[in-house]
């Protein structure tokens, strides 16, 4: 049975089609995928030397990025953020507040300072425990888990040893 190993010339489809047309490959030897390929051809033919249009890769930026940049410039990053934690990050909290208070202020810098004040007041109102549970850093995830375990088990090793 004939076959064509020239991967740089045409695609697998054009080569097999050529073999069938010329009679080098008999119709009985037609590969299984040939009919399926003809019924559902790929969106782009798989040619080796196919030229791809040179599309510029665009930068993904949002209007909130300016606010985020200012926030991180002042307060720095809080470390690695856990993507699986569903609570909003400090930066996200800031952004939400910023959006709320946007209508009242005209100047950006004024608005920024005002939001900072409001959030600091809110922070002092929260108790320390709640604050920790809403912590979104990676490190906190481990400490919170450790705390949960220690709270659940409530086994005092000294007691266990003293029983004996």
């Amino acid at each position: 049975m004939a076959s064509s190993r020239l991967e740089r010339i045409g695609s697998i489809y054009t080569r097999v089609r050529g073999l069938l047309r010329s009679g080098a490959m008999k119709q009985e030897d037609k590969p299984i995928w040939y009919d399926v390929y003809e019924a559902f051809p790929p969106k782009i033919e798989p040619f080796h030397g196919r030229k791809v249009p040179d599309i510029a890769v665009r930068n993904i930026l949002y209007p909130e990025d300016i606010i985020r940049a200012k926030f991180y410039e002042r307060y720095g990053s809080s470390g690695q953020i856990s993507l699986t934690n569903k609570y909003p990050t400090p930066c996200q909290n800031f952004l939400d507040k910023y959006r709320e208070m946007e209508k009242d202020y005209a100047d950006e810098n004024e608005l920024f300072e005002a939001v900072v004040k409001v959030l600091q007041e809110e922070k002092s109102m929260f108790s320390s425990n709640e604050q920790q549970s809403r912590d979104t850093s990676m490190a906190s995830m481990f400490t919170s888990v450790n705390k949960e375990i220690s709270q659940k088990s409530k086994i005092n090793i000294a007691n266990v040893l003293s029983e004996k």
């Binding site: 697998i12 097999v16 299984i32 399926v36 019924a39 080796h48 791809v52 040179d54 890769v57 665009r58």
Partner: protein
């Protein structure tokens, strides 16, 4: 008086034998006769009338040829007389009935209206009489319901849209990219869903036709995932080091006649050295179609059905393996449902 200037003698026509020539011949013959010892005059007299005509003597080969011709003609006449026209027509009709309906134009009659591609999952709702009319799954855009296997959100949750960084971007991947977020490539999931649906559909059809499917991946982290998926699908996997001659010189490696896979699904098109996996080029060489998950640093050109997406995250790889396994199982299940014509 006037005729004195006339040329006397025979007409010297071109092409015919001439007395002068005959004279020359005479001389030649005389010389020959002297050598041979035969009378030249008698030969001359015989030759001159004959030189006007074609030679009548036929060679042995010619005689035989004519004999064969006559025999063949007799045979042909007997053959044509053996069957009547009616008999021939009946035979031809029988031959036509034995051909497949693959090349037919799809029939839409009141009888099979509910069986045409208005719905996606049909075979289970058909009557037996209609089953015979619908024999070819290739006519339907989504015979196996492969589009229902996943949603765009599933891709997003599995982190399929994350690519590598700007610097490692392969120029041929640019059409599939949504953009770059602070240096990280993000895939356009709309395009990914479309291409993934095509790939799954192709897989299901190949499985339906009984093709051998090979899962290939050389990412050590995902070896178990890929091999399990292949096991569950009842197909094959090669998630270890790839021998160069596996596809191109298989008969020597396996020491026997081998049947090569009919489809190769590459869960990652790169090898641990960050170069294009040999299987991509070898499959193209051996005319085997490939489906490949191409990350932002891979070249999609040689892959028949590329699927742009993340090939590094375990969640993404698990999702791909599950989807392909399900597509294969769907294809195989439909094989047992409908009897092949």
């Amino acid at each position: 008086m006037e005729y004195e200037a006339a040329v006397k003698g025979r007409l010297k026509l071109k092409g015919t034998a001439n007395k002068d020539i005959q004279k020359k011949l005479k001389k030649k013959n005389k010389e020959k006769a002297k050598n041979d010892g035969e009378s030249s005059k008698t030969k001359e007299q015989n030759e001159t009338p004959q030189s006007y005509k074609q030679p009548v003597v036929k060679t042995k080969a010619q005689l035989k040829f004519e004999q064969m011709k006559e025999e063949q003609q007799k045979k042909r006449i007997l053959e044509k007389a053996s069957k009547t026209h009616k008999q021939r027509v009946e035979e031809f009709n029988r031959h036509l009935d034995s051909l497949t309906e693959h090349f037919d134009i799809p029939k839409v009659s009141p009888g099979n209206l509910n069986a045409t591609a208005l719905k996606v999952n049909q075979p289970t709702e058909l009557k037996e009489s209609e089953l015979k009319e619908i024999t070819n799954p290739l006519r339907f855009p989504d015979y196996f319901g492969v589009r229902n296997l996943f949603r765009l959100k599933d891709l997003f949750d599995a982190k399929v849209h994350y690519g590598h960084k700007d610097g490692t971007l392969h120029p041929n991947m640019k059409p599939y990219i949504f953009g770059s977020r602070l240096g990280h490539i993000i895939f356009d999931l709309d395009k990914t869903t479309e291409l993934l649906q095509d790939a799954l559909n192709f897989t299901a059809h190949i499985a339906y036709k009984g093709g051998i499917i090979l899962f290939v991946s050389h990412y050590p982290q995902h070896t178990l995932t890929v091999e399990n998926a292949a096991k569950e699908a009842g197909e094959y996997a090669h998630a270890r080091e790839w021998d160069f001659h596996l596809l191109t010189n298989s008969e020597k490696i396996y020491k026997g006649v081998t049947r090569l896979p009919d489809l190769i699904i590459m869960v990652s098109t790169l090898n641990p050295q960050m170069q294009e996996h040999t299987a991509v080029r070898d499959a193209a060489k051996m005319c085997i179609p490939t489906i490949g998950i191409v990350d932002s640093n891979s070249n999609p050109n040689l892959i028949t059905y590329p699927v742009p997406g993340n090939d590094d995250s375990p969640t993404a790889v698990q999702l791909y393996c599950n989807l392909f396994r399900d597509a294969i199982l769907l294809g195989k299940s439909k094989k047992s449902e409908i009897p092949s014509s």
